[in-house]
């Protein structure tokens, strides 16, 4: 027997009206692996991330995280159980500072009580300083100049730095499982390579963080993933090492059929 997976979906189905966005998916994500989720546009990759992070709810099937059933868990509960993510289209709060955005990722570790926030300002200040130091450290790993922009509004950052901030926001909560939805979207090839190197670097320093990554860039997928799952029309059509998956005729057919 292999060790139980960190995340297990069984018969996971999501319907939008008549559209079967996810069709009876059985997907396992093992502890400490980087799982690539690939497939043509509209094949259900983002929907899969949305349903396991509690943004959408499943129409049928089940999901387990670390053995616990999370099929109907709220997004808040999932965040508390160690799940964090980025979004395909950047979802930073642009008018807020980089710090405010990153701090959201640490929300569950912070004291949100009225008394603490309004009256115990010394304790609050200590908390702020500790988190600011952590945020600076994280940002520094990605881009030393970004650490100096901690209090700049997110809107003043370029695309690549916004991505980095989103990833820092996901990482600062010390999650067990991170979902990355097309981290390369809106970036050049070189920028993507850079960000991915940074993610892998951080992952090493955090000691085997589990990641699900959705990507179009096959070069990137080949470089970072341990295993891949290929979706087409909401169904899993193939699974395995990238090299095997890429040469699979069914997969080639799916990609060709699309373009």
């Amino acid at each position: 027997m292999t060790a139980p997976a960190l995340l297990e979906s069984r018969g996971l189905t999501v319907r939008f009206g008549g559209l079967l966005a996810l069709n009876a998916l059985d997907i396992d994500v093992r502890h400490g692996e980087v799982l690539g989720l690939i497939g043509p546009n509209g094949s259900g990759k983002t929907t899969f991330l949305n349903v396991i992070s509690g943004v959408y709810s499943a129409s049928a099937g089940s999901i387990r995280l670390d053995g616990a059933d999370i099929t109907t868990a709220s997004a808040q509960h999932l965040s508390a159980s160690g799940l964090a993510r980025t979004f395909q289209r950047s979802r930073l709060c642009l008018p807020l500072s980089v710090f405010d955005n990153i701090v959201l990722g640490a929300q569950k570790r912070l004291n949100s009580g009225l008394w603490h926030n309004l009256i115990q300002r010394k304790a609050l200040a200590a908390e702020v300083r500790a988190i600011a130091a952590e945020a600076r450290e994280l940002l520094y790993v990605f881009n030393p100049t970004l650490a100096d922009k901690l209090y700049d509004p997110a809107i003043s950052l370029g695309m690549i730095d916004r991505r980095r901030v989103e990833i820092c926001r996901a990482l600062i909560g010390k999650p067990k499982l991170v979902l990355l939805d097309e981290p390369s979207a809106g970036m050049t090839h070189d920028e993507t390579d850079q960000v991915v190197d940074e993610i892998l670097g951080i992952r090493k320093s955090l000691g085997g963080l589990t990641i699900i990554i959705v990507e179009h860039e096959m070069g990137l997928i080949e470089r970072v993933t341990d295993r891949c799952v290929v979706l087409n029309y909401g169904k899993k059509i193939c699974e395995g090492k990238f090299r095997d998956v890429a040469s699979d005729p069914v997969v080639r057919e799916a990609y060709l059929g699309q373009s």
């Binding site: 509690g54 965040s79 709060c93 807020l96 500072s97 959201l104 702020v128 600076r136 520094y140």
Partner: protein, 387 residues
Amino acid sequence: MSALPSHKPARVWPLIVAVAFAAASLTTLVLIENQKLLGLTLAGIAALCFAAARFGGVAATEAAASENPWLLRGLVLIAAMAVLFVLRDDNFGLLMVATVLIYATVCIGLTIQMGYTGLTNFAAAAFVGTGGYTAAMLGQKGGLPDIVVLISGGLIAVFIGSLLILPVLRTRGHYAALTTLAFGVMFTVFLDANELLGGPQGLKIPGINLFGWDFSDDLHIAGYTFSFYVNYVILTGAVTALTMVLTGLLDRSWIGVWLDVVRLDETAASVFGLKVGRWKVLAFTLGNFLAGLMGAIYAKMTGFIAPSNFTFGDSLVMVSIVILGGIGNRWGVLPAALIVVLLPEKLQFIQEYRLLLYALVVIVILVVQPDGLVARRVRTLRMEARS
């Protein structure tokens, strides 16, 4: 690691000048009777503010204020005493200042709701009215200490608000806008039809007496006589100041960040664990409490309330103050409340077209300068060794 940016202490005199300027402007605007002179003064004040913004005076003031919060508080206190001294026997002027402070405080509550959390509230005047009528009804019964009466005004407004909470919490669509709009419109209709609440004629209410401090007595200090309205200016001023300080602390805390995130992106908020509904309830509650509390004070100050004091139009006026001031900026609310409350009192010809004029102002602002008079600043939660 990169070093923290070192801070050169800001000079304090811009702050002193700014507070003195604000106090002088307020006093002048309240005292001027002549309409042409008022127009000229307003233009002059606007020009000076514009110049101050253009040449760094505003930035210098802000830097000094954020580094020396206690100096700011002390200066405001001194300025307030000076204004009170100058206006000491001007009943109409004092009443106007207290009214401006009441509007300002209600609009700070509205800022927490709309500016921070993104909850549309088109019924602010109805919540103010709820507080006012609560004070009137409790006052008629008699026997309750006024501190209890005033706080009950706030609590009953919170209670009425909680009846609307379900649609207000709905994420999609404009449920909050529609529900509060309906409540704001129905409130006066309900009052008009209700004999127990005095119908269209309204109710009379006795003045405030807090712990033996009778607000209907003139004050005699060092040989000078202060009109009894000074009591109300002191009370409303103290409540406004306390509200400003607490709202500032709220804004510069984790809760301030959470409220902003709830407004800007509910999906991101819940994915990172924020209980969106809980923060909306908090903001709605705080804003409605302030509205109800100020309504109770207003009712006791004017001694008489009627449905026509709390119309849907008044709710719109409050929203326009928040927009004019710079949505989400609690400081902007103060000059905006002054302008919106004072001008129709002074310029008789505006009275009739009041609402039309506000509608125009709001539209022009949203098109030309969506940030309002004073744009909200980006929060910098740094809290280094200085507090």
